[in-house]
């Protein structure tokens, strides 16, 4: 998949996973990988970016003697998911148009 396209999609995928429930690094990678090919290293900058623009917050929980960082979606993040869904209705229309024009040949 095109890298730029993937970047935008991944941000929203991560937010969607978090909307379902708070989660931590390893779990997020697993859940998102079910839908989009992701690696642990691609995830880190995404999480940092989402935290920087206020879409998520973090907190730490003790787990088996170490600290585990949990990520939580904010209202801002939820709004971004809605924005994405609206924008992609547009994309859908354009896709339909391209597909139809292509088939008419």
């Amino acid at each position: 998949m095109d890298i730029q396209l993937k970047k935008g999609l991944l941000d929203i995928c991560v937010l969607t996973v978090l909307k379902h429930s708070d989660s931590y690094g390893y779990q997020i990678v697993k859940d998102v990988s079910d839908y989009v090919e992701t690696s642990e290293s691609t995830l880190y900058p995404i999480l940092k970016r989402l935290e920087a623009n206020g879409s998520l917050t973090t907190y730490s929980v003790e787990h088996q003697g170490r600290l585990r960082k949990y990520y939580q979606i904010t209202d801002n993040g939820k709004a971004k998911i809605d924005e994405f869904l609206v924008e992609w209705r547009q994309v859908e229309k354009i896709y339909q148009f391209i597909k139809e024009e292509n088939e008419h040949e």
């Binding site: 931590y24 390893y26 990678v29 290293s41 900058p45 170490r66 960082k69």
Partner: protein, 201 residues
């Protein structure tokens, strides 16, 4: 590669970033490796799943560090003002540096105390235990008492040494954070970009 080697390589590759950013990344990957281990992978397998530390570092640095601005060439006037004003800003800078130095000294007072306690405990332990023998030869009871105190100091040494180690780590951590905040003032060009902006108008 095992976890520690991976983290060390990553630490080295991330040298460009500030202490706190670096710590965040290292914690993230350490946590990830631990989670993989918890879910059945061996440490080697977990590390193998991750990218090469150099690549991770390049990507992290690229994303996190804002591109350095191309500072507009300063006018001659600005350069002149900087030189003329040097007695002022240089002495302010020096005062600032002394202030930071005094903060660091205060931070390190704690380890100085705990390490002294540790030394004292160890000395007490050594002198108490080994010095007890000659004393026992002259006055047995005093010797026993000294031996007792010596053994007590052995136990005390364990705790004081641990406390000293903890306080050294704590102070190191704190010192880096202080230096980090100071350095980031200059790295982001805080003071100097102000001068340049006002000079080029």
């Amino acid at each position: 590669m095992n976890k520690q080697m991976f983290l060390n390589e990553l630490d080295k590759a991330l040298f460009k970033l500030s202490y706190s950013e670096k710590k965040n990344i290292l914690n993230y990957y350490e946590e990830l490796i631990e989670d993989y281990k918890e879910n059945g992978c061996s440490e080697e397998e977990a590390v193998a799943r991750l990218e090469d530390p150099k690549e991770i570092a390049d990507r992290a640095i690229g994303e996190l560090q804002p591109p350095t601005d191309d500072h507009a060439s300063s006018s001659i006037l600005v350069k002149l003002l900087i030189i003329l004003g040097s007695p002022l800003w240089a002495s302010i800078l020096l005062a600032g540096a002394m202030f930071v130095l005094s903060i660091l000294i205060i931070i390190w007072c704690l380890p100085i105390v705990t390490v002294s306690f540790a030394f004292a405990s160890v000395a007490g332990a050594l002198i108490g235990v080994f010095g007890a023998v000659p004393v026992m030869v002259t006055t047995f009871l005093y010797g026993i008492f000294q031996l007792g105190v010596g053994i007590f100091c052995v136990g005390l040494s364990y705790w004081t040494i641990r406390l000293a180690q903890l306080s050294i780590d704590y102070s190191k951590n704190l010192s880096w954070r202080v230096l980090d905040s100071v350095i980031s003032i200059f790295r982001n060009g805080g003071c100097f970009s102000w001068i340049k902006i006002n000079g080029s108008r």
